[in-house]
Amino acid sequence: MFPLLLLDPISCENVLNQLNPYELFKFSLCSKISNRLARNVAVKVNDFFSLDIHLDDSYSIGIQYETDHVFEYFSCRSNTIHNMLEGSSILSKPMENGKLNGNGPSMFRTSDEKSVETYWEDEVVGFKLLIEYVMNLYDKPIDILYFQKTDSLKSTEILKWINTRKGSIRFGHVDLCHVNSDQTLSLILDQIKNVNELDLVMLPGSEFIKNDTRKYEFKELTITNGYWVTLPRLVNMNCNILNVSGTELTNSDVNSFLKMWINGGFDKIKLMSLNVLEVDILKILEGIQYQEKNNYSGESFSVSLDINKNDIFYIICRTDGLVASIYVTKFGKHLVFNMEVEK
């Protein structure tokens, strides 16, 4: 036994600095005191960590970190005690009891493959405690959310709880293709409002498309399979960056959108990319004053795409003087309508 706690605080911290993040995490599980010591060390390097949540067929929180030359990762999963009994032969390490810094009771098993399995009476309650534990240890909010093929109601409850914690989620990949009920879809969409950059896939039914009037306000929103992005819904999407593919929008819809922008709407939009049914730029610009340019100066725009300088750009101007460039690019077989707003 090495009497670590008898060292002076600086030497003790120096020792803990030598542990890799997974070892430090395991050390934090020893007791409340070890948790406090580990936290002191972890918060000082937390710029090199990012936390991600996976809500799929199981619930886990991952810790990614950057060492001298590589990114490494370990994860902690929440299970029911029932799962533990079923899978006990898989894991070789012994089961341990811990209170996750007083937030227990729980049982956990660590493995050499950088994973921690935790076992709870109720996996959702347990997962919330696990998230709290990890967020406290690194003093960081959740950075990335992965949401797919999950028990929607349980996962919504987890999201609801995450939204009560400090900080917002930087990036979310949310796949709601498995959600059949419009009501559940609404519940989930309500809980991902705080995601900054959202990658959204969903297959809503006609009733939802007709009735949903929510605002989609994100820093960046990417929608694939966006057949449900009709003009009324597009009008409710006020994002800095908006990418929608697979829409059924017509040239006339885009024309209406541009006219609303010219009249002062969508003040947040900096870059928009729409995969429209058939792009006819003259129909899109019908009734709009524009200036045609061959040479494009990407520097004056907030966000620039990698485009060919020989393409034709259509410069339009808002009533308040703000300028945007309109152009068409190719994506596979499809043409894509793009709009970039000047800085």
Binding site: L19, E23, K26, K32, S34, K93, P94, E96, F108
Partner: protein, 179 residues
Amino acid sequence: MSVEPEVPIVQVEEVRENPVLYKIISSDNHVFTISEHAVKLSKTLWDLITNLGLTAENALDNPIPVENVNGKNMETIVQFCERHKYDEEEPEYTNYIREFVLPEWDRQLLSIDNEELFQLILATNYLDIQKLMDYCCRVIGDMAKDKTPEELRIIYGIPTDAEDDALERSASDSPGPSG
């Protein structure tokens, strides 16, 4: 994971330089000779030498007593400092998560039992030798490899929460200085 630092060959340079030597006396009266470059690795000793005004001429006539370090630890410390006296200065610590592997020579030097390692750390801390402190801490950190939390608790002598609570209770139950 990181590259083992190259250990310079010091003997040739030492002969050429005709180095200044200092004498150190441990708490149990063992006398050690150490070169100027090596002693500079200890901030405490170098400050002492500077403050005492020891020079090349009078250094060997004025042994420095170090009452907090015994002969065994001093021997390890002197060996370490002589070995590393020409090492390049470490880049400033940037709070970056780094993993380094202890050089084999140092690993062997520090292959001692935990009680000795603990005493060596106390001595290193007192003499303020950053590099040796880092290396000792690396040895202790390596004990955590592939261990479970419960194993770590035992290896590092961490009391359980229940033990801590009991200790706290007994401390609060015991009469204070006035009682």
